[in-house]
Symmetry: C2
Subunit: 220 residues, 2 copies
DNA sequence: TTAATATTCAATTAATCACTTGAATGATAG
DNA sequence: CTATCATTCAAGTGATTAATTGAATATTAA
């Protein structure tokens, strides 16, 4: 008797979406997928989980409508379903930073406070980069850079930065960015650059947020 | 060995928030709490669950930072932690409607298509209500009306609407609203009003979305 | 104090989840 | 065709979850 009402069914469906976000492993996958599409194999090695486990997480994300899969040869490439997913993740971060003391503390201790100098806002950066006043540095892996980056940015993946410092002009300020607000790579980059005598700051967010803000993205 | 990185801890925390949203019962509670604060008792009877079960859901929401509790006498009143929560719920709905075929279908079949005439946009309503061109009808329970409503709105809870039709001027168009986009009460109201010869339409959203849009809210 | 009421806690059950392991599918290369 | 590789499926384990029931706590009313 008493069938579920349409509203109950709807809430059940929405709950499935939220539940798919309710796992640190899947949030990790989504952060990577926000940079561009990736095969199951790549995702497994980037997150450090087994391929089978990664595949199952990806299926849960796909069933929730958060990702899409594309089969090419023997590879399956997953990507985010759309910008709504990025917006939902941003809303989730915002809620956490505002209402969960533990998150606020973590963000302050490990992120905000490491970046002594004020991070650069996206709109400011574009302007100054076009005038040639700063070097924009993308420290993500090459695949992610190729899938889209800040126009004019230089790509030096974080683990190569130490050896390739010579490629950066010493006089100009460097603005580094990576995957997003909770990605540590740009923090590490700024610390390394400052130790070596560069003037360096972080972009306040990563490329997905840049793109979502409607700012121009360069490919390849 | 290998301690979790700050990012992992952060994602774990964010996942806890998302997991708290990952239950239809809790989404139901949040929709009610979006209208204003409520005691455990009231929430239990409004959702049709046991008090103990409701209390446990509320604690999960509170631990995730989504709700706050206030003790007054022997009652504990819960409320939403802030507008970020509403924004996250809006992002969740948006994601679902865009990327989950089942949700899109349900919304079309049970919601959009029942409302033949185009729903009224919030900004339009405020203008026309001030000019006295429409009667704004709030069909939510009295407590929710008192906690905040569209300025000048008349409150007739949906279950009393049949008997109290006389209170509405027959010539003016009626615009009805309730808790939110997935709340059926305003649909029922519009159907009833039209059967009785009124010109009636729905407001596109409920009061929480109205308030979130920065539109004025009247109390008491 | 005693009784009544609102809420939370504790214990239980059935269901679901994350992860592992090993096998099954499906596409490509030799 | 056979071997190889990427991915998915299926089964199993330990942990977590939603809901129920009954007891415990805390506030108010008599």
């Amino acid at each position: 008797m008493s069938n579920p009402t349409p509203k109950q069914i709807l809430f059940e469906q929405l709950a499935r979406i939220a539940a798919a976000l309710g796992s640190a492993a899947r949030l990790d996958l989504l952060e990577i997928l926000a940079q561009g599409e990736r095969s199951v194999d790549q995702l497994a090695s980037l997150t450090g989980h087994s391929v089978a486990n990664t595949s199952q997480h990806l299926q849960k994300l796909r069933q929730a409508g958060l990702t899409l899969g594309r089969k090419e040869g023997q590879y399956v490439f997953y990507r985010l379903a759309g910008d709504e997913v990025l917006r939902m993740l941003a809303a989730l971060r915002q809620t956490g930073e505002t209402h969960v003391a533990e998150i606020d503390r973590l963000v302050h201790d490990y992120f905000s406070s490491r970046d002594q100098m004020e991070p650069v806002a996206a709109a400011d950066l574009l302007d100054r980069a076009r005038k040639g006043l700063v070097t924009v540095l993308d420290v993500r892996p090459a695949e992610e850079f190729e899938a889209g980056h800040v126009p004019g940015a230089v790509n030096i993946p974080i683990e190569q930065l130490g050896k390739r410092l010579g490629e950066l002009p010493k006089r100009k300020e460097v603005v580094a960015y990576c995957r997003g607000p909770y990605c540590l790579m740009s923090y590490e980059a700024v610390e390394l650059l400052r130790r070596k005598g560069h003037k360096a700051r972080r972009l306040e967010n990563g490329l997905p947020e840049w793109r979502l803000a409607g700012l121009p993205v360069e490919l390849g």
